[in-house]
């Protein structure tokens, strides 16, 4: 079987990732692509450095696809995330979802990107002209409190 979730330092191919979910039962495919943006809150990014805890990150991506397939049983999902140094406009993440009907493809994709930002151990460091900083935009962190899906 082809891989459903992976982390790589190689460039990501939109066509390749998307084609993995195209199938006879699906009439809708939604592909979300996260790219490196030049300006964030008026500050100019030169490039990003992504780092990961790869073994755990791939497990967490798999977990997200399982959560999605529970919520949208007809969905087929592939997620790929790139790490290492990424330049402006480089593709950082691709989420491809196919479903029989279009509404589910949008909703399931939306779910995936939000979950990635919550539970997958990947970090980015912004490099600006005048400095650098590790970004943490996770919402639910409280010291020592595991995420909700961990205590269900």
């Amino acid at each position: 079987m082809e891989k459903r979730c992976w982390i790589t330092s190689e460039p990501l191919e939109i066509e390749d990732v998307t084609k993995r979910v195209i199938r006879r039962e699906a009439g809708a495919v939604n592909t979300f692509i996260g790219t490196v943006r030049e300006f964030t809150k008026g500050k100019r990014t030169l490039y990003l450095q992504y780092e990961t805890y790869k073994e755990m990150a791939e497990k967490k991506l798999e977990q997200i696809t399982k959560e999605m397939e529970r919520q949208w049983p007809s969905a087929d999902v592939v997620i790929a995330h790139r790490v290492g140094r990424l330049e402006i406009t480089d593709v950082a993440v691709i989420i491809a979802v196919s479903t029989p009907h279009r509404n589910d493809s949008y909703e399931a994709s939306r779910y995936a990107i939000e979950r990635i930002k919550e539970i997958v151990p990947i970090w980015k460091k912004e490099h600006w002209e005048d400095g650098e900083e590790w970004i943490g935009d996770q919402k639910e962190v409280k010291p020592g409190v595991p995420l909700k899906e961990e205590i269900k």
Binding site: G34, Y50, E51, T52, Y53, E55, M56, A57, K59, H81, A92, V93, I113, I116, K117, E118, I119, V120, P121, I122, W123, K124, K125, W134, I135, G136, D137, Q138, V141, P143, G144, P146, L147, E150, I151
Partner: protein, 77 residues
């Protein structure tokens, strides 16, 4: 023995991505507090903790051979 893993900003603050520690019998919370005080690093408080590649609550008891990861706020996507 146990392996402690550090990532991103925490790795840079500690100066290494890996530390060996005999932590069997300790709770995850105790390991966290030990690292926080030893390195005087309050940013440890913002970390989630994982044992063997799964998030775990702080009252988890560490077993010989467990790998403990300090997960700073993530920013993938």
């Amino acid at each position: 023995m146990n392996t402690l893993l550090f990532f991103a900003g925490l790795k840079e603050a500690i100066g290494t991505d890996e530390v060996r520690l005999a932590a069997a019998g300790m709770t995850l919370g105790e390991v966290k507090e030990k690292v926080r005080s030893e390195y005087s690093l309050d940013q440890v408080n913002n970390c989630m903790m994982a044992v063997n590649e799964e998030f775990a609550p702080e009252d988890t008891t560490i077993t010989e051979g467990d790998t403990i990861a300090f997960i700073p706020p993530v920013s993938g996507g």
